[in-house]
């Protein structure tokens, strides 16, 4: 008889991550709800810079992705990994470091993002010191995971662990790749790549943050918790193998579908399109293996809230991963991109797939950690129905809004003019949809609190099992494999080879797309008239970044008649070579700004920032009175110039020494111009608004023909 060893599972670390996920989930969706309400009632920011939409939007996305889902991943991984490998976690110290390190990062994010400290890259907004902390904690997690794998008592790695391994290595590569930046000061840096290259790398990262943070780890969790909760065998081992490798190989290529019809070269855009289409089957492989595992258990799905949540989660996953490829078809993207359709799409994924799977796992796992039963099945069912309704009320109005607005943008009169020449008309049209969306969000939040109550009651009723006793045959009893077996069993016994194979699979796509863009000069055709930003414009640009303007305004005029008629000449990649970071944006709640330079007088911008309603009645843009009040800091201007010079921006030698003088000169001219229009104030030329005006008036003018009368 095999030698059986006794050991115990560490449940304490699982409980910690579970509590953190529940807590930060509440924070994340509440901030989201506030942001959603601000789109209906812009004055809800109460005039406070720190809680204005542009700043809390990244707070919401970061909280939802990295705090709620992130802690959810670690909760599920620490629970399932130990049990699938029949061993305790490798290192208590690393587990603790991982937990507290991650929470410290979340705290840092919660402080810095509202302060406007951001690198402006979606889902990678955190500045460089926090980026380094993330890398350290992530490596600690990796060592802890691999240490556990190496001391396992189970010879073969189950499919969930393949997904965990792929997740770990890919997030490592993505995080480092997208955060190559040169610090200017403790809380400011510029990215190494500029313009279109920066855009490609950002969306190689951004898309795969969805793929390898919101998808692959959750597929791993699904492969453990769904068969456990349903008590059914996994439908198809072969499907697991094929869809795993196909998914991680293909996913990494699809990033450019975020940049369709931008100035990214066509060959790269098309790669994004075709690889997205090829992703349908591998994604659906996961959905099928989940849903078909429930064969023979469907009668229980009707009763068991855990299974209900899981079924809706997996179905939402299937819907989102079909919709995504459809949105990657260029002609569909021409309609959907920059509209609320995208917002609806991602929330099917986060609210449905990530949210509901997390809820299912919590309802199943917490009672087991506390050796008790769920406090109330009835409340869990209530949560299920409010949550599902919430998702519907969230997504459907946004799909409607997206279509409506896009069609309005593109509508021409027969004599060749834009039917809705005033962008604002297309915004006020969809505000009722925003209100409905906020209702959907409220329902989802309400369900969340029902769950929190239910789980608190459950925890109170039970007694926690910190160290769960277990036993398994020792690793020394592993049999040698000589006979006939499935070919894939070979690599399941070899975690290191598995890691290497996964790394190769995920590197290929990124390299094929990124290297030519960086190495080959003529990928970005140079334009003679494009010059670096003046120091004042640069400071204005950094305020634009700080305020999160790019959350609502794109800077990319696509080559469509409806856009060139509305905004002006379509954008060229050569115009962005000094843009660090690129600020193309991904949503137009307000109009595109790439050709806004010279369109309005300085005084228009001044009045517009003070109170957008005066120049644009009905606008939902919040006022920015602090830009008129606060003085521009030029403390870092010289350092910024030096950093940009190091990165290749051709400022003249020793320009940093006179940069501030130049800045003041340009500021006084703008201030003088404002005074002519009757705008005056104490130290007008020293205010932040002057820099913002300088930047906005510069935008898109490098290749713009001289303004014509009446334009």
């Amino acid at each position: 008889m095999a030698q059986v060893e006794k050991f115990s599972y560490d449940n304490a670390i699982v409980r910690k991550f579970a509590y953190a996920s529940i807590l930060f989930g509440a924070v994340g969706i509440l901030v989201g709800l506030i942001a959603a309400l601000q789109l209906v009632f812009p004055s809800l920011n109460l005039g406070i810079a720190e809680v204005t939409f542009g700043r809390i939007r990244p707070l919401h996305t970061n909280a939802a992705i990295f705090a709620f889902v992130g802690n959810g991943i670690f909760m599920g991984v620490y629970y399932s990994l130990q049990r699938l490998l029949k061993t305790r976690m490798f290192s208590k110290g690393l587990s603790e470091f991982h937990f507290w390190g991650w929470q410290a990062i979340i705290l840092a994010a919660a402080i810095t993002l509202p302060l406007g400290i951001t690198s402006a890259k979606e889902y990678a907004e955190l500045e460089w010191p926090i980026d380094i902390a993330i890398a350290l904690v992530w490596v600690a997690f990796g060592i802890n995971m691999f240490g556990t794998i190496l001391k396992r008592r189970e010879q073969h790695l189950y499919v969930a662990i393949w997904f965990y391994i792929a997740t770990w290595v890919t997030v490592t590569v993505l995080h480092i790749g997208n955060n190559l930046e040169l610090p200017v000061s403790l809380w400011k840096s510029y990215p190494v790549f500029a313009g279109v290259q920066d855009a490609l790398i950002q969306w190689w990262y951004g898309h795969n943050a969805v793929a390898f943070f919101l998808t692959t780890p959750y597929l791993g969790l699904m492969y453990y918790f769904l068969p456990k909760a349903a008590n059914r065998p996994v439908y198809s081992y072969k499907l697991s193998i094929i869809h795993f490798w196909a998914l991680i190989f293909i996913y990494i290529w699809a990033g450019p579908h975020h940049l369709l019809y931008t100035s990214l070269p066509d060959w790269a855009q098309s790669l994004g399109t075709v690889f997205s289409i090829m992703l349908i089957a591998p994604s659906w492989g996961g959905m099928l293996n989940g849903l078909l595992t429930l064969r023979g258990a469907w009668d229980r799905v009707r009763q068991d809230p855990v299974l209900k949540f899981m079924v809706v989660a997996v179905t939402a996953y299937g819907m989102a991963t079909f919709e995504g490829p459809m949105l990657s078809i260029k002609s569909v993207n021409a309609i959907s991109h920059y509209t609320d359709w995208t917002i609806g799409h991602v929330h099917i994924g986060t609210l449905g797939w990530n949210g509901f799977l997390t809820f299912g796992i919590l309802y199943w796992m917490l009672p087991r950690l506390f050796n008790t039963k769920l406090y109330s099945q009835k409340l869990a069912n209530v949560h299920f129905w409010i949550g599902t309704l919430g998702i519907l009320f969230y997504a459907i109005p946004l799909y409607w809004a997206g279509w409506t607005q896009s069609l309005m943008w593109k509508q021409f009169t027969p004599d060749g003019f834009l039917q809705y020449g005033n962008f604002l008309e297309t915004v006020t049209q969809i505000i009722p949809m925003y209100a409905l969306r906020a209702l959907g969000g409220t329902l989802y939040v309400a369900g969340y609190f029902v769950m929190s109550y239910n789980l608190v009651k459950t925890v109170q009723a039970g007694s926690f099992i910190g160290d769960e006793a277990a036993e398994a045959p020792a690793a020394s009893t592993w049999a040698a494999h000589t006979g006939k077996e499935h070919w894939h069993r070979w690599i399941e016994r070899r975690p290191v080879q598995m890691l290497i194979a996964a790394t190769i699979a995920i590197l290929i796509g990124g390299m094929v797309e990124v290297f030519p863009m960086i190495m080959i000069d003529d990928q970005v055709p140079k334009i003679e008239s494009v010059t670096p930003y003046t120091p004042l414009e640069l400071e204005g640009r950094d305020i634009y970044i700080r305020e999160g303007c790019l959350g609502c305004h794109s800077q990319m005029v696509r080559p469509f008649r409806s856009e060139t008629e509305r905004y002006g000449e379509y954008s060229k990649s050569g115009e962005y070579i000094y843009d660090r970071p690129f600020l193309w944006g991904s949503k137009r709640t307000g109009p595109d700004l790439h050709r806004v330079g010279g369109k309005y007088p300085h005084s228009w911008h001044y009045n517009h920032m003070e109170e957008p309603q005066t120049t644009s009645p009905g606008s939902i843009m919040p006022p920015y009175p602090w830009l008129l009040r606060d003085e521009l800091s030029t403390k870092n201007t010289a350092a910024k110039i030096r950093a940009l010079q190091k990165l290749g921006t051709p400022y003249p030698d020793r320009y940093d020494e006179i940069a501030v003088d130049d800045l003041q000169k340009q500021a006084s001219i703008i201030a003088e111009n404002l005074r002519k229009d009757g705008i005056d104030g104490d130290k007008l030329e020293e205010k932040e608004i002057i820099a913002v005006i300088a930047y906005l008036q510069r935008l898109g003018t490098d290749i713009k023909p001289a303004p014509q009368a009446g334009n």
């Binding site: 002609s331 005033n422 080559p559």
Partner: protein
């Protein structure tokens, strides 16, 4: 024979789907009421028709097969007697859906899954050895084929247009459509040829629009004295005081200042009439006038081309000159 036909159905369905996707693309290109929206409809209509004929042929084939089966049954009955016939006919028949489901998934029924259960288990989780669902495999291959064809079409050959070529084509199509439309509109008045109308009938029509559907009076006053908007009775104009300037201001509006565009609500002739009426108010000195705004404008017979009046154009140049680096 029958097996082959059934295999055709899954193959044909994605084809159908493909045709709708490409139609979707055509529709998206033209979305927004562009006149060339319907260009592709004919060819896609034909494609749909072909698909319909194809499906009809399949159905006919299926019926034919059924008849052949019946004939076979009668033959069994004649040759082997009624007992053998009953035995043959009374074999349990599953529904079409069930048979299709089985064929598309090759799934092993739940009752027989012990046969394909792997020995290994992970924390109690077992795995089945079901094959890859054939429809899933077909979908995967099809998407790969799509990728190859798409990329070849757009990048390995010159067949597919680039984004910028697409844009040029779109602009040309639009230009043609607009010209075609304008050709059908008689006596087109626009900001280049608008003329000051002085006959009483036109001015009366202009007054009706000013006080009526034009709602001009809400901002500019019942007698043109101004209010939210500028005074129309003094010789000072912000956007030019020529009839052509007024026509243009009315037509396109000045949205950033609250003056909306009227081109979709007033016909060109109506805009000409209301502009002429407004100019007829010059010098009427109504009570409560708003202070003059803009520049003094001398009405000229022959209007010179407007100069660059953009404040920002000049300001930008000034700023650029002042800074050494540019």
């Amino acid at each position: 024979m029958k097996n082959k036909t059934l295999k055709l159905i899954p193959a044909a369905l994605p084809l159908l789907l493909l045709s709708t996707t490409s139609w979707g693309q055509a529709a998206a290109d033209g979305a927004g009421g562009n006149p060339y929206f319907y260009d592709g409809l004919l060819s896609y209509g034909l494609l749909f028709l072909a698909a319909a004929v194809f499906i009809a042929a399949l159905v006919a084939l299926y019926n034919l097969l059924n008849i052949m089966v019946k004939v076979q049954q009668i033959r069994i009955y004649q040759e082997q007697g009624i007992e053998a016939f009953k035995e043959e006919v009374q074999k349990p028949q599953q529904s079409l859906f069930h048979r299709l489901y089985k064929r598309m998934t090759h799934v092993v029924p739940v009752e027989k899954e012990e046969d394909i259960l792997f020995d290994h288990e992970y924390d109690g989780i077992r795995e089945l050895d079901n094959v890859l669902p054939p429809w899933w495999v077909a979908m995967f291959y099809l998407s790969i084929a799509f990728a190859v064809v798409y990329y070849t079409y757009y990048h390995f050959t010159d067949a597919g247009p680039s984004s910028t070529e697409e844009y040029k084509m779109e602009m040309e199509r639009a230009e043609k459509a607009v010209q075609a439309y304008l050709a059908t509109q008689s006596s087109q008045v626009d900001e280049t040829n608008a003329e000051l109308l002085t006959d009483a009938q036109s001015l009366a029509a202009g007054k009706t629009i000013y006080e009526g559907k034009g709602t001009c009076f809400t901002c500019h006053g019942m007698q043109g004295e101004g209010g939210i908007g500028p005074n129309m009775t003094d010789p000072y104009w912000i956007h030019g005081g020529d009839i052509k300037d007024l026509f243009k201001t009315i037509k396109y509006g000045v949205p950033e200042k609250g003056m909306i565009s009227w081109k979709d609500q007033l016909k060109p002739l109506e805009m000409e009439q209301v502009a002429s009426y407004i100019l007829s108010l010059q010098g009427t000195n109504p009570p409560n006038p708003k202070e003059p705004q803009g520049e003094l404008y001398q009405q000229q017979v022959d209007n010179a081309a407007p100069a660059d009046t953009s404040a920002t154009g000049a300001a930008k140049k000034q700023e650029a000159d002042a800074i050494g680096m540019q």
